[in-house]
Subunit: 335 residues, 2 copies
C-alpha cells in the first residue's frame, strides 16, 4: 500500500501528459450535447464516480446520474438512453456487473467512455473511447493509486467536455503537491493517535469533498476494520449527528472553497459536543494539512492522499497489515 | 413515535384512495416523455427518493438521478433540464435548500412534482403538480408516517407514468399488512436483545431494499444513537465486510424477490464469521417477519415498518426517548 501510494505523483504526472490524446478521444462523444450523463461503478470506483458526478454536472451543465446496477442485472430494466453519455469505471476492466451494465447502456443508445487500467479489458472493448488510467498493476487490496487516477481521469474528461474552473497550471501543480504530502507522513501518524482505539468514526465532507469522505470511510473500514461512515455535512446535521453523544472521532474534510463555512460551523458544533476532531484541509491549524490554493474542484485529488495516510497509520497502530486486510480479496464478483 | 407509527395504515389507505386524483395531476407532466427524471430531497426524504430512483427508472424506462443540492446552492451550477421531470420531496415543504434547488430545476426547463404534507408550502407553490402526502403533522423527531407516505407517493406516481409490476389488489392489500405488523411488536423486541449493547450495526439490502437499509440505519442513529450504516449488499461484499471481524450485528433486508439469493449468500458468509444476524423479510425463520407475497417493488412500504419497530425497541432498551432524541431538532436548515 505504501509503495503504491508513493507511485501516485508519477501516475498522475503521466496521466496529465496524455491529456491531449484523451481530449481528442472524448470530445467527439459529447457532440451533440447529451441530455444527461450516467456513471457506472462499484466499490471505491463508485466513490470516484461521486466526484465525477459533481464535476461533470458542473462543467457540462447536464444532469449526471449514478447507475443502479441491480436495475439491469436483477430487475431487467429497459432504459432509453439515446444520446446519453455513459462512463464506466473498473480498475481491472473485468468486474462482470459493471461491464454488463455499461454494455446495456450502450445498447440502449448511450455513447460510452471506459475508464480502466487495462485497455484490452472487456470494459475497454465495450466503449466508444477508452481513458487508460496507466496506474499499473495494483497489488495491495485497498486501491490507492487507481482511485487517484480515476479522480484525475474525471478532471481530464471534464476538460474535454466544457470550460473547467481551473487553470492548466493549477492542474499541473498537483503531482508536486502529492509528492510533498507523501514526504510528510507525520500528521497522519499523530492523527492516528487521536483516533485511538475508537470502534467507529465519521468522515464528513460537503460538495466536492463528499467523495473523499466516502473513500476515507471505505479505506478505514477495509484496512483498519473501523466502522467508519462517510456522510455529507448537510446530511450529518439532519439526524446522524445524534450519534455524537458517544463522541466518535470525526474526520472533517475541507478544501477552503464554497463548502468551507458549512464545515467550519459543523466543526464548532462538534467541538461543543466534545468530539475528537481531525480537520483535513488548507486551514491554518488543520491536523491533516494540505497546501493552500488548490481549487476546490481539484482538491479531492490532494485530500485523498491524506485520507490514505490516515487509514494506513490507524491500521498500523492497531497491529494490522494494510496490504492484506483479513477477509477481503482483490476482485469481487457481484451480479 | 409509536402513535405516529400506528397511524400508518390509515395514512396509506387515505393516500391510495386519492390515486385517481394524483394520477390525473401527474400524468400530463410526462407527455412528451422526459429524457430523464431528477429527485430532490435531504435526510429521510432522500432515503425515500432512493426507492423512487429505482422504481421510476424501472417503470418509466428513463435514467433517474438524485440531485446534489450543493451544486446549485454552493457552486452556482447551471444545468439544462429542458423536458426533464423533477420530483421534490419535503415533509414540511419548507426546507429552504430543497425548495431552492427544485425552483432552479424548474427554471432550467424541468416540469416539477412537489411531494409534501403541506399543499400551501413554498415547495408546493413551486411545482406544476402537488402530491399531498396527507400524513398530518409529525411531532416526533424521527419521521415515520411521512417516510412511509413518501414511499407510497412514489408508487402512485409510478402508476401514473408507466405500466407497474403489481396488481391493484397487491397495492390495496398493503394497509392491512401494515396493521398486522403494528399489532405484532414482539419480534422487534426480541431483535433488540440481539443488538444488545453493540456500538455499531450494519443494515444491508439490495435493489429495492437498499432504500430501507439506509432508512433503518438513519433511524437507529437518530433514536438509538447507534453508529449504524446502511449498505448495498453488493457494496458490502466489495470491502466493508472487513469490519465484520468485530462481529457487529447485521440487519439483512430481504423481500423474497430477485435480490433474495444475493442476500441469502451474504447471510451465509456472515454466519460463518459469527455475526449476530437479524433477517427481515418473508423467509421462514426470519427474526423480523413480513407477510409473503408482497411484490418486491412494493415491499419497502412493508419492511420499513419492521425497521421502525426495531429502532424504537433498541432505543427503549437503552433507556432513551425515541420521541425526542438528544441533540436533534425537527427542522434542519442547510444551504
Amino acid at each position: 500500500m505504501l509503495a503504491e501510494m508513493a507511485e501516485q505523483p508519477a501516475v498522475l504526472g503521466a496521466l496529465l501528459e496524455r491529456r491531449p490524446d484523451i481530449h481528442s478521444r472524448v470530445r467527439p462523444l459529447a457532440d451533440p450535447a447529451p441530455p444527461g450523463i450516467v456513471l457506472v461503478a462499484r466499490g471505491s470506483s463508485d466513490n470516484a464516480a461521486v466526484y465525477g458526478r459533481y464535476l461533470l454536472e458542473l462543467v457540462v451543465g447536464r444532469p449526471v446520474a449514478l447507475a443502479a446496477p441491480s436495475l439491469f442485472t436483477l430487475y431487467g430494466a429497459r432504459v432509453d438512453c439515446r444520446g446519453w453519455l455513459a462512463v464506466g469505471l473498473s480498475q481491472s476492466g473485468e468486474t462482470p456487473e459493471i461491464v454488463d451494465v455499461f454494455r446495456r447502456l450502450r445498447e440502449a443508445g448511450a455513447r460510452g467512455i471506459a475508464v480502466t487500467n487495462d485497455p484490452g479489458s472487456p470494459l475497454a472493448q465495450a466503449g466508444d473511447a477508452v481513458v487508460e488510467l496507466g496506474a499499473g498493476e495494483e497489488r495491495a487490496v485497498p486501491a490507492t493509486k487507481t482511485f487517484l487516477a480515476q479522480l484525475a481521469a474525471f478532471a481530464v474528461i471534464a476538460e474535454a467536455l466544457g470550460p473547467v474552473p481551473w487553470a492548466d497550471a493549477e492542474l499541473e501543480a498537483l503531482p508536486g503537491h502529492l509528492a510533498a504530502l507523501l514526504d510528510d507522513p507525520r500528521p497522519a501518524r499523530e492523527a492516528a493517535e487521536v483516533v485511538g482505539d475508537a470502534d467507529g468514526l465519521i468522515a464528513v465532507g460537503r460538495g466536492f469533498q463528499y467523495a473523499v469522505a466516502l473513500e476515507a470511510a471505505l479505506k478505514l473500514k477495509e484496512t483498519a476494520l473501523l466502522l467508519a461512515e462517510g456522510l455529507s455535512a448537510a446530511d450529518f446535521r439532519h439526524g446522524p449527528i445524534a450519534v455524537m453523544k458517544h463522541a466518535f472521532p470525526v474526520l472533517a474534510l475541507s478544501d477552503g472553497g464554497a463548502a468551507a463555512p458549512d464545515l467550519a460551523e459543523l466543526e464548532a458544533t462538534l467541538r461543543e459536543r466534545g468530539a475528537p476532531l481531525l480537520r483535513l484541509g488548507p486551514d491554518p491549524g488543520a491536523e491533516l494539512p494540505i497546501p493552500a490554493g488548490v481549487p476546490e474542484t481539484l482538491a479531492p485529488i490532494v485530500t485523498v492522499v491524506r485520507a490514505q495516510q490516515l487509514a494506513r497509520e490507524v491500521t498500523l497502530a492497531r497491529g494490522l497489515d494494510p496490504d492484506a486486510p483479513p477477509g477481503l480479496s482483490k476482485v469481487t464478483r457481484t451480479r
